[in-house]
């Protein structure tokens, strides 16, 4: 076996990308293609009174106009969701500014856009529901009349005895936190090309995080069987959770069916900010109870989550926010009420962290507050209560590996925590005040309860007669480098050069029907499946080689593409053996097959929400150092240290890349990003006004990879990409408190908020 595990390796598709040869969804073209555009509601809540599409239909170059009020379309929702609250085009009501009302397909984009502007829609504007507390009231106007309530989902978590914990506590701290609507900011907008064949089967060429979920959901949305849908995944220009099922895709199929031609649709950046699926904003009220020595006794919380106009993956996100952070520390008494609430705002969906950035902002800021009350070092407080390897938590999470304490210890050492805590605590009234703060988080590596069907992964490993290998996984590379990890695993297990392994984009007609990429599942679940498939393929090729070399399989080893008999000097090249295998089976190339079903996982109990949802849990500790300007409120980031227990770094070069990128997104979440909404209208329509971190905004970042070697992960590997974002905002917020003594409880922490708080503080003094 040539061992690439743990070697720093650039992505295997880097050369395609750096030469401009890679074809992304938005680049894809078919001959005879038409261009589609969407007519979107200008109002946040309204009844459609009348639609006149006559002039649009008459415009030369227009090949189809489809109006929602004129056709029958089924109700549907995303995979596994039973409340079918959406429809491809609005039937009678629009529920958010951006809601899809009509479609046009034309010979070019300009004509399509002109036609869209020619469609006249008369709306009766209805009172909009924008405030979460108000939306929960029984007399509130309803977003979905048929459901009778704006509370889309509610859940209660109850472990131990919270009231007793509160009564027995020496110290109780309270807080109320708000996290904003933020966008994934993937550089490539949503795109789709779609075409129907003569037998009523539709093909989608889409940048999607899941070929299978797309197939499942778009079939439902179109009212056809899954067997009538083929998804050809195209390389993605970023995903971050935002490219699971997306309405633009089946909308395009409607136009393709109507016109009988391939149709392409691409979102503008304005449409991305108006009508894609941003992070679920949350309001979190939280209380922590502790004894004087710092033992956490209990946690009580109430979470209001903004669903927007349609469900999407809201319930899973609420479940994550109400349950996951409970497992970070050894807390026995927990009571949480969570509500997912419909509003007349853009529907929200999955975004890296999936509820954890929201819940951890609240928890980790509260812990900092508690540390102040107890006069205890915040890192000590965390170490004292940290979950440990072997723990079974109140949620029944089994922590087969847990590097949390190591992450805390390593990061405080590298960040020079103790001396800086002391040094920055002096000179607090300087114009430029420095501070250092810490926060922790955890995540899952795959999530059994996300979808009802199954959790796990499968792969095929095909060895063709030149000894070149094609890996066919069930998970998509969304730019994070999973195809490279898969290639590394296969090359290592087969003992061949990395260059011999290819991992093409996915096709639902060929690849296993794996669930796709989300939930930090790809390395752990997909990697295990790919490994199993490679082992299976190796067994098959070694059998052929053994016969050819007249030896036993046990005597054979493969190194650098040569199969050696250890007992003699006999050898055969991998390619030769592969060719032999193929010719002996009349051209059937060796195909290894492997599956991985995570052991010991379950769906959560429908009421208690208890359940060990993952077979491995990653942990993170992050430290942020800031300098706050008291006169301007501006925060300068001086340094970030991120310690990540990822089990095992299969590819440390790209693992570091994941951490750096996640930290950047976390910085945006903490300090500069917000989709500013007023009465359901998103005000920032471009990157000019939606401020994501740029090259000059980034501080030095030190990434520490802690390898706790999880027994269930391939080579010990757990998830990585999501938790590296989650703890940044509270780390920065805690550093700001350390610097200037004010806590900003709503993100993003803008200079204006800091100045206001400083002024308030001055007044009190």
């Amino acid at each position: 076996m040539s061992n690439l595990i743990g070697e720093p390796i650039p992505l295997i598709d880097s050369v395609d990308k750096v030469t401009g040869k890679q074809i992304y969804g938005s680049d894809f073209k078919l001959p005879g293609m038409l261009f589609g555009k969407v007519l979107r509601s200008p109002v946040a809540h309204g009844r459609i009174l009348h639609v006149d599409a006559g002039r649009a239909r008459a415009l030369p170059g227009v090949k189809a106009v489809i109006v929602g009020t004129e056709i029958e379309l089924p109700n549907y929702s995303v995979a596994g969701e039973k409340m079918l609250d959406e429809c491809l085009l609005a039937k009678d009501k629009v529920r958010y500014r951006g809601d899809e009302v009509a479609l046009v397909a034309a010979v070019d984009e300009d004509t399509a856009e002109e036609a869209i502007n020619l469609i006249k829609v008369e709306y009766e504007e209805l009172p909009g529901i924008f405030d979460l507390e108000q939306a929960m009231q029984p007399d509130s106007p309803l977003v979905h009349d048929q459901f009778g309530s704006n509370i889309a989902r509610e859940m209660t978590i109850n472990h131990g005895n919270i009231e007793q914990a509160l009564a027995q506590a020496d110290v109780i701290v309270k807080g109320r936190y708000e996290t904003p609507r933020v966008h994934h900011g993937y550089m490539e907008p949503h795109a789709v090309v779609s075409q129907w064949d003569a037998k009523d089967k539709v093909t989608f060429w889409i940048p999607t995080q899941s070929h299978v979920l797309a197939r499942m959901t778009y079939a439902k949305a179109l009212g056809v069987g899954q067997e009538q849908v083929r998804v050809l995944q195209l390389p993605l220009g970023g995903g971050f959770g935002g490219k699971l099922e997306y309405k633009l895709h089946p909308l395009c199929a409607l136009l393709a069916r109507e016109t009988g031609r391939p149709v392409k649709m691409v979102n503008t950046r304005t449409e991305e900010l108006m009508a894609s699926l941003p992070r679920v904003p949350m309001i979190i009220e939280i209380m922590l109870a502790a004894s004087r020595d710092g033992t956490l006794l209990g946690k009580k919380a109430r979470i209001l989550a903004d669903n927007g106009a349609y469900m999407n993956y809201g319930p899973g996100i609420l479940l994550s926010a109400t349950t996951r952070s409970d497992n970070l520390y050894r807390i026995k008494n927990i009571f949480t009420e969570g509500y997912l609430i419909y509003t007349n705002k853009v529907p929200t969906g999955a975004f890296r962290g999936f509820g954890c950035p929201q819940s951890h902002f609240a928890l980790e800021t509260m812990l900092d507050k508690l540390a102040v009350e107890l006069n205890m070092d915040p890192s000590e407080l965390r170490l004292k209560n940290a979950s440990q390897k072997g723990d079974v938590t109140p949620h029944n999470w089994y922590l087969g590996s847990c590097g949390l304490s190591d992450c805390i210890k390593n990061s405080i050492q590298v960040a020079d925590w103790s001396s800086k805590r002391k040094k920055y605590a002096e000179n607090k009234n300087a114009k430029l005040a420095r501070g250092i703060g810490v926060a922790c988080c955890l995540h899952v590596s795959g999530n059994r309860t996300f979808l009802p069907f199954f959790d796990g992964a499968s792969a095929y490993v095909r060895i063709n007669e030149e000894g070149r290998v094609t890996v066919l996984p069930g998970e998509v590379d969304i730019g994070q480098g999973s195809k490279t990890v898969f290639a590394i695993i296969v090359a290592s297990e087969l003992g061949i050069p990395l260059e011999w392994v290819d991992v093409p984009s996915l096709d639902t007609d060929i690849n296993p029907h794996g669930l796709g990429t989300f939930g930090d599942r790809v390395t752990t679940l997909g990697g295990n499946a790919v490994k199993a498939a490679a082992v299976n393929a190796r067994e098959q090729i070694l059998e052929i080689a053994a016969v050819e070399l007249k030896t036993a399989v046990e005597n054979l080893k493969i190194e650098n593409g040569i199969i050696y008999d250890c007992r003699s000097d006999q050898r055969i090249s991998f390619s030769e053996a592969a060719q032999l295998a193929s010719y002996k089976q009349a051209g059937a190339t060796v195909i290894g097959k492997g599956s991985f079903i995570p052991p010991g996982v379950s769906m959560v109990h429908p009421e208690t929400k208890i359940g060990n949802v993952s077979c491995a849990y990653p942990f993170v500790a992050q430290i942020a150092e800031v300098e706050v300007n008291r006169e301007t409120g501006q925060v300068k980031l001086l340094n970030i240290v991120s310690a990540h227990d990822l089990g095992k770094a299969i590819n440390p070069l790209m693992a570091e890349g994941q951490v750096l990128g996640a930290v950047a997104q976390g910085i945006g979440f903490a300090l500069t990003e917000e989709m500013i909404e007023e009465k359901g209208i998103i005000k920032n329509q471009s990157f000019k006004h939606y401020n994501m971190p740029r090259s000059v905004d980034m501080p030095p970042i030190t990434s520490i990879l802690v390898e706790s070697n999880d027994p269930n992960g391939p080579y010990g590997a757990k998830g990585l990409g999501e938790p590296a974002l989650t703890a940044i905002a509270p780390a920065i917020a805690n550093a700001i408190y350390h610097a200037v003594g004010v806590r900003i409880d709503t993100l993003p922490i803008t200079p204006a908020k800091i100045l206001n708080s400083l002024n308030e503080k001055e007044k009190i003094i």
Binding site: P8, P10, L11, D13, S14, V15, D16, K17, V18, T19, G20, K21, Q22, I23, Y24, S26, D27, D110, H184, G185, Y186, M187, E188, P189, P235, L236, G237, G238, G239, F240, V266, T268, R269, I478, G479, Q480, G481, L653, M654, E656, G657, L660, G661, A662, V663, A664, Q665, S686, F687, K688, M692, P693, R694, S695, V696, M698, I701
Partner: protein, 157 residues
């Protein structure tokens, strides 16, 4: 309404009729099929569409194709010398500076523009040179390292 433009792209001469309101970006991607230059925002905010126009980096989404009449354009497809990667491209690959790759063409063009003017940029100068380029995947560090590495590599030649 259409006009005829004469434009050299990656050393190749084109004489083409183009809609007067079409951006240079759309001309490159749609009319002459060079899809390596990307559309990220169509608003001059993200840098994905950056090409070299007469040697200077421009957001091709923010200019009309007709404005490029008589000009020389270099896109990502023209960076490598036939098959061999340009040292900037090689450095990007080796440094792990590429994840999804969507910002990469623009970044490479920006790096070329920088290194053509300043053969030994400081980290600060590198970060300023790519400030107009958004990347959501990498957090920029590995891109900055790549550009530094490319500078060293070019200086060794």
């Amino acid at each position: 309404m259409q006009n005829i433009i004469k434009i050299t792209v990656n050393g190749e001469h084109y004489e083409k009729e183009v809609l007067v309101h079409k951006s240079l970006l759309d001309f490159l991607r749609d009319d002459i099929n060079l899809t390596g230059t990307k559309k990220g925002c169509d608003n001059g905010d993200c840098g994905s569409c950056t090409v070299l126009l007469n040697g200077k980096p421009v957001n091709s989404c923010m200019m009309l194709a007709v404005e490029a009449d008589g000009c020389e354009v270099l896109t990502i497809e023209g960076i490598s010398n036939g098959k061999e990667l340009h040292p900037i491209q090689r450095a990007f690959v080796d440094s792990g500076a590429i994840q999804c790759g969507y910002c990469t063409p623009g970044m490479v063009i920006a790096a070329k523009a920088l290194l053509d003017e300043n053969f030994n940029p400081t980290e600060k100068e590198i970060r300023e040179a790519i400030v107009g380029h958004l990347c959501r995947c990498t957090g920029y560090d590995q891109i900055v390292s790549a550009i530094k590495k490319a500078a060293n590599s070019l200086n060794d030649k």
